[in-house]
């Protein structure tokens, strides 16, 4: 036995013309927590998918506990003691925790026997790692944090000695994340090896023993965490100095542009997704909405953009009750014409049509603009000219308007959406997760652009699950939990701890 649980030697993987991993090597010590950090598209997930048997490397070797292995599928990975907790949980909502854990490892034709054994085993695992999961709870009733622990249990139940976690804190409150980290430390004490994929520097600093920094498919550094600091890591990741803070002057808010009164949304099951919201967004300010995802922020954005019909309340835009406007157009189109632009949270599902070229995406939502058509047909010239303008203003790469937008990186896709929405010169910009899946270089650019807009006197409503982003950009911060606004904090007095508490539903 060697001291390394996992060794990757010279791993390369190519997708078409893209080299996702190029000669990647790393050693992960047994019983350590190892971070893999890098921008989106740096090749972290590809690498882990190779380790977990989803992909085969084009070249390179993998050693598990010093033994050369070939991992052809995830079953082989599991047999080698490698477990993975995916970013999107692979659970059956209507099954109990126990049923979910046994799923795929039922142990024989008759369920009963295997179930009883599993229950015993589960009890022990629960105790060993203080996971605090009730085996008989229905998974759908559990919060995200608990569901994640079910995923961890699942991997452990299958005998994982090496646990890979892919961006595990993306969906957690700070408190839940702390709990997760306690569990990970307990795992480490029991001699398990943990691999943590993340792009959050703070987490790496808090919990890992060693870090591998990846950039553009290659390893740019294998370091011991204790020897580096946040700034140094960020520097390695991006390859140049970045400012994590956004320089901005104090806001000079003007008249209220958006005035929301008693806004409510109840779904068919009677669940209150939005519960009597009251707030304003004034010209020249950025109002940030903090909250763990799934607490009503997405619905709020869709209601304000005219995509969802609220069940009660009033939305006033520049003094006008929006519900009373009649235009014969769908609301989303009518409101957009009035100057409400919307950068949706989920750009690949809503903000873009991935199968379309960049120039077609550059007019999505604005396809009715008179300047784009001549005698009923699109003027290709006008479309291309507009797209080229976006490309040069927002430094979109590659700068080919005919390229399918799905082939662009996340950051460049987001720039297309942003360029399009800003081009319309809106008075109110609704923006959700502006930098989700966007690399650090582009984050900086997008943040600057938003502050610039604010300084031009636009009203901006920002929804983000990234607290750092909310803190960096907002002039005022509203916190949402369970469909309600649980508190308002001014930017100066806000910090992650107080916001975290509000996000957990503790009212001020």
């Amino acid at each position: 036995m060697t001291e390394f649980a996992i060794e990757l030697i010279g791993i390369s993987k190519r997708f078409g013309t893209v080299l996702a991993n190029s000669d990647v090597s790393m050693k992960i010590a047994r019983g350590s927590i190892h971070g893999i950090i890098g921008e989106n598209g740096a090749g972290k997930s590809t690498l882990m998918s190779i380790l977990y048997g989803y992909y085969q490397a084009d070249s390179g070797d993998i050693k598990v506990n010093g033994q050369d292995v070939r991992i052809r599928n995830s079953q082989e990975a599991i047999n080698l003691g490698i477990g993975m907790v995916h970013q999107h949980f692979m659970l059956v909502d209507t099954f109990t925790v126990l049923e979910n854990i046994v799923l795929g490892a039922e142990g024989g034709l008759v369920l009963q026997q295997g179930m009883e054994q599993a229950r015993e085993h589960l009890k022990q695992l629960n105790r060993d790692y203080s996971l605090e999961v009730d085996p008989d709870a229905v998974v759908g009733d559990l919060g995200v944090g608990l569901q994640q622990r079910v995923e961890i249990l699942k991997a452990l139940y299958r005998g994982a000695d090496v646990l890979i976690l892919d961006e595990p804190t993306a969906v957690l409150t700070p408190q839940e994340a702390d709990h997760l980290f306690r569990i990970l430390r307990a795992l480490k004490e029991q001699g398990k090896t943990v691999i943590l994929i993340t792009h959050k520097l703070r987490e790496v600093m808090d919990i890992t023993d060693g870090v591998t920094v990846m950039r553009a498919g290659t390893v740019v550094g294998n370091v011991v965490t204790a020897d580096v600091d946040k700034e140094k890591l960020a520097d390695l990741m991006v390859g140049r100095k970045v400012t994590l803070k956004v320089d901005k002057a104090a806001a000079k808010p003007g008249a209220a542009v958006l005035d929301v009164r008693g806004l409510g949304l109840t779904d068919e099951r009677g669940v209150k997704l939005l519960d009597k919201l009251d707030f304003q967004v004034r010209a020249g300010e950025i109002v940030g909405i903090a909250g763990v995802s799934g607490n009503g922020q997405s619905e709020l954005l869709e209601v304000l953009a005219g995509m969802l019909e609220p069940t009660e309340g009033e939305i006033r835009y520049k003094g006008e009750d929006l519900a009373k406007t009649r235009s014969g157009l769908p609301k989303a189109a009518a409101w957009r014409r009035k100057g409400i632009a919307h950068v949706p949270e989920d750009r690949s599902r809503e903000g873009l049509v991935k199968a379309f070229s960049t120039f077609e995406n550059a007019i999505l939502g604005y396809q009715g603009d008179k300047s784009l058509s001549r005698r009923g047909l699109f003027s290709r010239k006008a479309l291309l000219a507009r797209t080229r303008e976006f490309i040069s203003q927002f430094d979109i790469r590659p700068g080919n308007p005919l390229l399918r937008v799905g082939l662009l990186s996340g950051g460049n896709q987001q720039k297309v959406v942003l360029a399009r929405e800003i081009h319309a010169n809106p008075d109110l910009l609704l923006i959700g997760q502006p930098t989700r899946g966007v690399d650090i270089g582009a984050i900086e650019f997008i943040h600057k652009r938003l502050v610039q807009l604010r300084d031009q006197g636009k009203a901006i409503l920002l929804v983000s699950v990234e607290l750092d982003e909310i803190l960096a950009l907002s002039d005022r911060i509203l916190v949402m939990a369970g469909g309600q606004i649980t508190g308002e904090v001014s930017a100066e007095e806000a910090d992650t701890v107080s916001l975290g508490l509000l996000m957990g539903g503790h009212k001020h």
Partner: protein, 360 residues
């Protein structure tokens, strides 16, 4: 794999595979496959009349292919082209029976076309509305509507539209005012002699429809809307498009296009309506659209293939009694199987070849 290869090499391979299997079957029933293939190709393209008939069948297939493609761009699988063409025939017949002795061709024919489009669209509207507003799956409803159309027409022709005193389930012959001129007649007017075939001016309309289809789908606002709804409904809703309305209109356009298949057959060729006049044109349209990848150029080419198969197959069955009409349908089925269902059968292999070439 480069796009040109996707559009040429793969369909060609699929077609070859279908022909190979057909050849085996032909050999199995005791015929010489090579000779049969020669007969088939000669029947379809070997002489003037054959070409005329091939293009006549192609005309109908182009329209139903475009119809399926229109719905497909909106993300809808319209299986109901057959029923829509059938009902369009009813619209045409009603107009003709009412006016063929009073209105001049210049008024009557456009009126018939409008009726065909209207009836076809109306028959597609109901499944479209049900899909958009009630979520009833379009595949199920359009299949059902084919049956309803068939039964309805059987009843109407058998009990009301049948020629007085006739035993055949068919209407009386249409007055000449309702005939769309055949191409050989038009050519004769210009001093060119073409063999006498049912190929008529509807063929020209089919080519125009292809050009219009291209412009509208890829270069107009509505086409943009159509395609957005088809590939990403959430994005369409985000962009302020009325998804339900787009679906309904797409279905209506699809039905209207199917209606032209009835025009081609009734006003261009038979000049009367009989019970089985659609003869599967709507179903072949599905294969045509699939194989033509919902692009007008592809649709013209695959419609030509199916037109040739229909015509060449008929000739073949005259020459070789062992090879029946069913055999030809069998071949069409194989082509659909290889080009539609097994579309990507050879893709990994061919993609591998191209990859190796790139690496060098």
């Amino acid at each position: 794999m480069p796009r040109w290869a996707q559009l040429t090499v793969l369909p060609a391979l699929n077609l070859m595979a279908a022909l190979l299997v057909t050849g085996l079957v032909t050999w199995f029933i005791g015929e010489d496959p090579w000779e049969c293939l020669k007969l088939l190709v000669h029947g379809a393209f070997g002489y003037g009349e054959g070409i005329g008939y091939t293009l006549f069948y192609t005309t109908g297939f182009i329209f139903t292919g475009l119809a399926v493609a229109t719905a497909f761009h909106a993300g809808l699988f319209n299986i109901g082209g057959e029923g829509q063409a059938y009902l369009a025939g009813l619209g045409v017949t009603l107009v003709v029976l009412a006016f063929d002795h009073t209105l001049p061709p210049i008024v009557l024919v456009p009126l018939c076309i409008l009726a065909a489009m209207g009836f076809g669209a109306a028959w597609a509207f109901i499944p479209g509305w049900l899909q958009a507003r009630r979520g009833s799956h379009i595949v199920v409803t359009t299949i059902m509507f084919n049956f309803i159309a068939y039964s309805l027409m059987l009843y109407l022709i058998g009990h009301h539209l049948i020629e007085a005193g006739s035993q055949n389930p068919t209407t009386r012959e249409f007055g000449q005012n309702a005939w769309i001129p055949a191409l050989h007649q038009v050519a004769a007017g210009m001093g060119v002699t073409l063999p006498s075939t049912p190929l008529n001016l509807t063929f020209v309309m089919a080519l125009l429809a292809c050009a219009l289809f291209y412009l509208i789908v890829w270069h107009s606002r509505w086409g943009f809307q159509l395609r957005t709804v088809g590939v990403n409904e959430s994005a369409a809703r985000y962009a302020g498009m009325d998804v339900g309305k787009t679906i309904i209109i797409a279905m209506c356009v699809s039905g209207a296009l199917s209606g032209f298949a009835a025009i081609n057959e009734l006003l261009g060729s038979t000049h009367r309506m009989n019970v089985a006049f659609t003869n599967g044109v709507g179903f072949v349209g599905i294969a045509v659209a699939l194989m033509g990848r919902n692009h007008p150029v592809g649709i013209i080419l695959s419609a030509l293939l199916f037109g040739a198969l229909t015509q060449g197959g008929l000739e073949l069955s005259f020459e070789k009694p062992v090879i029946t009409r069913e055999m030809i349908i069998f071949i069409q089925g194989l082509i659909i199987l290889f080009c539609g269902a097994l579309e990507n059968l050879f893709e990994p292999f061919i993609a591998g070849l191209f990859k190796r070439k790139d690496d060098k």
